[in-house]
């Protein structure tokens, strides 16, 4: 598969608010950050998939950004078994490691946002 084909899948997923990922058909490794080769076994037999968006906070930090006030940032462990970096929208209730979150993508800016699953 060409990188462009993967990017088209990713861009289309982001436009729909979905989180794309790749699954290796040789070794069953799942990963988010795209490549034309499985980073575990080198296979080019990759399946383009869409995540259900459900996951858990793996790590989270908060800091004060110059223009945007307090920013939450970190890593989500997706239920399918891969991890990605994203921002968190906490809506007042502080997220912790292992809190359930739903991740959505924002097409134009390619930002990933996770919010508490209950919301």
């Amino acid at each position: 598969m060409r990188l462009q084909e993967i990017q088209e899948h990713y861009d289309a997923a982001f436009r729909r608010g979905c989180v794309p990922f790749l699954a290796c058909e040789e070794c069953s490794k799942f990963f988010f950050y795209p490549s034309t080769r499985c980073r575990k076994c080198g296979s080019a037999r990759l399946d383009k998939r869409l995540s259900a968006g459900e996951g858990k906070v793996f790590a989270i930090t908060r800091f004060r950004a110059k223009d945007s006030g307090e920013v939450s940032y970190g890593i989500v462990q997706m239920e399918e078994g891969f991890r990605l970096y994203c921002n968190f929208e906490e809506f007042g209730s502080k997220l912790e490691v292992d809190s359930g979150v739903k991740v959505r993508a924002i097409g134009e800016t390619f930002q990933l946002l996770a919010r508490p699953r209950a919301l």
Partner: protein, 383 residues
């Protein structure tokens, strides 16, 4: 082996990076009793922005050679960030041993102030120059706020706290001990003593890290001359060496609580307790804590307990960062490796002044570099 060295650090150096670089290089050569004409090997490194705000120097190593008027037989450019300094030394020694060169000038540094003034770090330089790329997939990675060394190490510190119960106070003790080591170091920026309370009452820069747990980016260069014939300094030897490069995104590692120092130190195969002191990369307190575990001073997860129960000041049983480290000198051009290496060479030559330890026979160094803790170099120097 190392026949001369020099280091100069300033919060803000008013001249060009090339000027400061040349001054430091000349000082190191003077110590070695050499002139520019004797230099036939050159090794250097580069990060975006640190040479007078330029994103990129086209053929950087050539430009350094051109400025100094050197025509090297051996020319190298290392790209391991903070770990580059330590990796230069064995490469230069190999070059000399194999007859490629007789005197290799190793230069590292630049101006952190140029990058600082743009409101970014070198690892966020893509925010000010769209020609900079951090990963092959920035489009899907750089959409949001804001991966930088501070948030990256904050996440590592948070995982360490979550997985092992490490407390903020334990990390703060590292800053306190290093400050004790720096009070007699003329290169230190901060004269006052530090307490755990003061560290923890400094502003939170990214939870759970505090301002006094992080290096301050400054301007500065270090130069080391590796020579076939050494007339001036103690003849040092590399007692052990290992490097490891983990290119993964940190989130794709099993966890954030290990660094490639685990692997580089294993390759070196030298028990760090046998060394008279250690110089561990100290971009943040958590960086030191992670290496304490990864190089084998403490079991994984026990680093917090280790710093509570071990006196790591220069008068203690296991001195770490004997000059106070870059947490106290500032971090020249976003790379602490030169600070670690200069301190090790000083200790091994009895040139550490008021913070000299007695009878230093070997120093264990570990450098970490890359924006996701990608590189680790373990180097044991002995006399």
């Amino acid at each position: 082996m190392i026949s001369g060295f020099s280091g100069k650090i300033a919060k803000k150096y008013e001249g060009s990076a090339f000027e400061l670089m040349a001054d430091v290089a000349m000082d190191a050569l003077n110590m070695a009793g050499l002139g520019l004409r004797d230099v036939d090997g050159l090794s250097t490194t580069f990060l975006p922005g640190v040479f007078d705000g330029k994103t990129h120097l086209h053929f950087q190593a050539s430009q350094v050679a051109q400025y100094l008027g050197i025509r090297p037989k051996y020319l190298d450019l290392l790209d391991f960030g903070g770990a580059s300094a330590l990796a230069m030394i064995p490469r230069a020694i190999n070059a000399v041993a194999s007859g490629l060169a007789e005197n290799v000038l190793c230069i590292l540094g630049g101006k952190g102030s140029e990058v600082r003034s743009k409101g970014v770090t070198v690892d966020g330089y893509d925010r000010v120059d769209k020609g900079v790329q951090l990963t092959p997939f920035d489009r899907y990675y750089r959409g949001g706020f804001d991966f930088n060394p501070v948030t990256d190490y904050a996440l590592a510190a948070q995982r360490h706290a979550k997985v092992f119960g490490t407390r903020d106070e334990q990390r703060a003790m590292i800053a306190v001990s290093q400050r004790k080591n720096s009070v007699t170091n003329p290169y230190a920026l901060y004269p006052e003593e530090l307490t755990v309370e003061r560290v923890l009452s400094s502003p939170v820069i990214a939870e759970p890290l505090h301002l006094l747990e992080a290096v301050y980016p400054v301007d500065g260069f270090h130069a080391f001359v590796v020579s076939k014939r050494n007339r001036t300094l103690n003849d040092l030897r590399v007692e052990a060496y290992g490097e490891a490069h983990w290119p993964e995104m940190p989130c794709e590692l099993d966890d954030l609580v290990v660094t490639p120092a685990l692997e580089s130190s294993r390759r070196a195969g030298f028990d760090p307790r046998r060394a008279d002191c250690l110089q561990l990369y100290d971009s943040f307190t958590i960086t030191v804590l992670l290496q304490i575990e990864d190089v084998g001073l403490a079991k994984k997860g026990q680093g917090g307990k280790f710093v509570e129960s071990t006196d790591t000041t220069r008068r203690g049983e296991l001195p770490i960062n004997t000059g106070g480290g870059s947490l106290n000198t500032g971090q020249p051009a976003y790379m602490s490796g030169g600070v670690l290496l200069e301190e090790a060479v000083r200790q091994l030559n009895g040139l550490a002044g008021d913070h000299q330890l007695s009878a230093v026979k070997s120093v264990f160094l570990n450098g970490i570099g890359g924006w996701g803790r990608n590189h680790s170099v373990t180097l044991v120097l002995g006399v």
